[in-house]
């Protein structure tokens, strides 16, 4: 069995009196495709933000590649190979498509920020033809691909794809899925946070379910989706 690349130990996060995450434990193995699901407000994005360093967690913490992440800023986590995409695409709107890719290449510190390397990243998401365009000229699915290209430019060992398919058509979901499969085949561990159940079941080797900030299930996708507590969380009693 491959080594554990990420471990969450009792991660808890509160916003004032509201507990967004409570004692979440999770292990992700190298090369794995993990689906993280849960109804709206279940804490998936909070988990992502805590893992990526955008929010500090109140309890517990993360261990990535055997090193604790506590105290590391977002950019330091990104440089260590922990990349994320955002629910809504957040391109650098004042920069062209290729410049958007040059930012992580210039700052990741592990690779050369050459034009060729930036074009390689864009080719991997089939955006090379729009390298000189501005983000406002891209379609929604192209923005999602740009978001993925920017994350993969960091050469991540773990990628958190946060609702990368929200609002896309059936065919567009397939395009993004194909991209994620390709990345995973190249050795990137992927946590997919998604509401598009077709994509989650097709992609994930394992599913973890968050409900009201707590992990209620973790295991084989078919088994997890048939668990009564998961059905209840999605469909109600």
């Amino acid at each position: 069995m491959s080594e554990v690349v990420l471990r969450a130990d009792g991660v808890g996060k509160r916003f004032g009196g509201f507990t967004a995450l409570s004692g979440v434990n999770l292990e992700v193995r190298a090369g794995e495709r993990l689906g993280l699901i849960g109804p709206n407000g279940s804490g998936k994005s909070t988990f992502t933000n805590c893992l990526a360093g955008a929010f500090p967690s109140h309890d517990g913490g993360f261990t990535f590649k055997g090193q604790k992440l506590a105290g590391l800023k977002s950019h330091e986590r990104a440089r260590r190979g922990l990349a994320r995409t955002f629910q809504l695409p957040r391109p650098f709107r004042g920069l062209s498509v290729i410049e958007n890719i040059r930012v992580p290449l210039a700052y990741a510190g592990r690779h050369e920020a050459t034009e060729e390397r930036a074009m390689e990243c864009l080719e991997s998401v089939e955006l090379a033809g729009k390298a000189q365009r501005m983000p406002k000229e891209l379609t929604q699915v192209e923005l999602r691909r740009l978001e993925l290209a920017r994350a993969t430019a960091l050469k991540p060992e773990l990628l958190i794809a946060d609702e990368a398919m929200a609002g896309l058509s059936h065919a567009e979901v397939d395009q993004i899925l194909a991209l994620l499969f390709r990345l995973n085949a190249g050795g990137t561990t992927i946590i997919m946070i998604e509401h598009v159940m077709r994509a989650v079941t097709e992609f994930s080797q394992r599913l973890a379910v968050l409900v009201a900030g707590k992990k209620v299930a973790d295991g084989d996708p078919k088994t997890v989706l048939s668990m009564p507590e998961v059905e209840e969380a999605y469909l109600g009693r």
Binding site: G94, L95, V103, P104, A106, K130
Partner: protein, 330 residues
Amino acid sequence: MSDATLPAMPVLPAPRRMGHAAFWLACAVAALAVIAVLRGIGSEYAYFAATFVLQYVVLATAWNILGGYAGYVNFGAAAFFAAGAYTTVAIGKALGLSLLPCIAFAALVGGALGLGTGLLTLRLRGAYFAIATLCLSVVLQTLVVNWSYVGGSRGAYVIRPRDVPWPFDTYGGYLCAVVVVLAAAAIAIARTIEKSRLGLGLGLAALRDDEQAAEAAGVPTLRLKLIATTISGAMMAVAGAPLPLLGSYVEPNSAFGLAYAVNAIAMPLIGGTASWAGPLIGAVVLASLQQAATVTISSAANLLIVGVVLVVFVCAAPHGILGLFKKGAR
């Protein structure tokens, strides 16, 4: 529309860009040309007017490094400008140094002030950051008003040296040449930051657009902002350093004047904040207009002109003069 229906655009070759060394050389040549032309005119008023305009070129270019490239609007430009002016007064009086070492000291003081301001305020964004920088101006002015060594509220007289360095015939001409060189250096520094292959300009542009996304892309946003506040602060203080010698007198109300704070923002906005050329164009246009108004109508009309031009540009050309040209090019 899906991209399946759109033919892929051919990859445009990246436009050829002048290298950093070539640009610095071009700035040096331009500075020498300006000095030669002004020396040819040989009028004290021409020296004064050029010094006035070019001081604003330095100030606007410096402001744009933080305000334009990083998107942090600094309302305290007058504080940095006055810090430079009062460094010249204090160092000149304490150590008897000439203008050039005073400018170097002003850069150090402005840089330290910028770094300190950054450390205290850069966790703030938008209006909160702007208000904090405005407060800095009020705090510094109060300190200077109560510091009798530099003249307090009465102000300080600074006598121009009798010896004028070769090849200048008057101190006004020498002062003007120094400011020409400062302006050329400021432009070259701004352009170097903007186009830096090390990524400083890219990083600042990324954090201007989205700080959280920039962090996620590996950009150390806090460090970059501190670098920007330090460089910007140092350059704004350098812009102010020659001020006491320009009029032989400086007092807090004029050194911390609203005109500097407003012009430092208005000039890059009018020229265009995205590039080094924007503040240069904005400063030359606006400062020349103000200088012309001063000698033809009244100096009281200066801020009125700035206000009117700013309103027109904000409404009609929000990306400044450069934005108009880019639109036209498409």
